[in-house]
């Protein structure tokens, strides 16, 4: 592997300054499950990696006094997936994080790294989009916050500018009675990167014609993880079997996938329809049962 230096700053200011100093040749370094492979394969040539794991609050997962979940950007997938409060109140997110790779990889892979790497297939993203999470950023100009939906710009691209770091994600509590599921299709039953993923969150809503409201997000079928707004709207109107079918088709229509080594675009589009239908049916069945 090409040599690089390693630094482990203690403050956000120091970290941001280091990222600025090296003229773009310094990279934030969290679990390094994406980064090290890119360096090894010669796609990235950093002079220095800036380990962000010792920065204040970066490794913490906690429910704040306002009821929002705060996930430090360098918290691991296992920390989130196994956290009692996440399992109880944000189980859709636990499902997404638990679906990443293997147990030992999840001990290193972080949620912040997953989001900053900005793969369309990032498995923590669909659940966080459904919960309307917010990304908190620190940089030379201080702090700013961006709704996660605006965080991704394209494959490997985010709104982060030079010298900026993702510090945390906050996740508001879902509506009362919300039920969510993450459906991931890989080439193997467990442990593979998503070929298609669909996160579905539904909750009782007397104001909606169908008596329910929905957030649906899709992974690996567009340049970024996306919400399927038309499918959500249709389900709010009609959650009967015909309505579910129409919404599943609308979700498939929102997908803009590509052909790649894992699957064809046509297959991906059709699987969005199938997984959306399965997800919505499952959520409806659980809402009825409770």
């Amino acid at each position: 592997m090409q040599p690089f230096d390693y630094v482990k700053p203690k403050t956000l200011e120091e970290a941001s300054a280091l990222l600025l100093q090296h003229n773009g040749q310094a990279r934030p370094f969290a679990g390094c499950t994406d980064l090290l492979i890119r360096i090894e394969r010669g796609f990235l040539h950093p002079d220095v990696v800036v380990d962000i794991k010792a920065l204040p609050g970066m490794r913490e997962v906690a429910v704040q006094p306002d009821g929002h979940l705060r996930i430090g950007a360098a918290a691991t997938m296992n920390q989130v997936a196994l956290h009692p409060a996440v399992l109880e109140r944000w189980p859709l997110l636990a499902e997404g994080c638990a679906s990443v790779a293997s147990y030992q990889l999840r001990n290193r892979a972080t949620v912040g790294g997953n989001l900053c790497n900005a793969s369309p297939a990032a498995d923590s993203a669909p659940a966080l989009l459904c919960y309307e999470a917010v990304a908190h950023i620190f940089g030379p100009a201080g702090q700013r916050s961006v709704p996660l939906e605006q965080f991704f710009l394209g494959p490997g691209k985010t709104v982060l500018e030079r010298g900026e770091l993702l510090t945390a994600i906050t996740v508001p509590p879902p509506a009362p009675g919300a039920v969510g599921h993450f459906l991931k299709l890989g080439r193997t039953a467990v442990g593979d990167i998503s070929v298609v993923s669909v996160a579905v969150l539904g909750w009782p809503d007397l104001g909606a014609p169908s008596g329910t409201s929905w957030h649906i997000a899709l992974g690996a079928v567009a340049p970024t993880p996306i919400r399927a707004a038309e499918a959500e709207r249709l389900l709010g109107q009609d959650a009967s079997p015909a309505g579910v079918e129409a919404a599943s088709r609308a979700a498939a229509a929102a997908a803009r996938p590509i052909d790649d080594i894992r699957a064809s675009a046509a297959y991906r589009t059709d699987m969005v329809r199938v997984l959306t239908r399965r997800g919505v049916e499952r959520v409806l069945a659980e809402m009825r049962a409770s």
Binding site: M1, Q2, P3, F4, D5, Y6, G31, C32, T33, L36, I37, I39, E40, V49, D51, A101, S102, Y103, Q104, L105, N107, R108, T188, V190, G191
Partner: protein, 160 residues
């Protein structure tokens, strides 16, 4: 580029100098000459390099050596205690859970860690617990049987 680190490996303390860009796997194999841990894919897929870091399994090919500073590492060489093989080591031998042996150290560590966090795993849980460890010889059936048997032995041990 060079870092002084102190860490323990299999209960022994080491104070060594490592290069920034060397992985924990390289440090273990090339500096400490603990070659039980294997380098398979170098990309976190195969699990041959799995070691315990503070009791939790990690792919040592995706950890920098410098990150081990202040931490406790257990490799396959450290699984046995006082010359007694760990239950999973015994059952892998007895039930033939190994053929060429290249994946075995990683499987032993991952299975050992699985049994620590879940002393009585179902077959599904064993399969999921070992999804990050590839074996190209055995077809996995004997490995799964060995984990199940190790769980039984471990429970019998705690009852005695």
């Amino acid at each position: 580029m060079r870092h002084e680190i102190s860490f323990t490996v299999n209960g022994e303390r080491y104070d060594i100098t490592v290069q920034s860009h060397h992985t924990l796997l390289q440090v273990l194999r090339e500096q400490l000459v603990l070659t039980g841990t294997k380098n398979g894919c170098s990309e976190g897929e195969c699990g041959a390099c799995t070691v315990l870091m503070d009791g939790e399994p990690v792919n040592s090919c995706l950890v920098l050596g410098v990150e081990a500073d202040g931490h406790e590492i257990i490799t396959v060489e450290g699984l046995a205690t006082d010359g007694h093989l760990a239950p999973i080591q015994r059952t892998m031998v007895e039930l033939g859970g190994t053929q060429c042996g290249f994946c075995t150290p990683g499987i032993l560590i991952a299975a050992h860690a699985l049994l620590q966090r879940n002393p009585n795993p179902s077959e599904q849980e064993i399969r999921e617990g070992l999804v990050g460890n590839l074996c190209r010889c055995t077809g996995y059936m004997r490995i799964i049987a060995a984990v199940r048997e190790a769980a039984r032995l471990q429970q019998a041990d705690t009852l005695n």
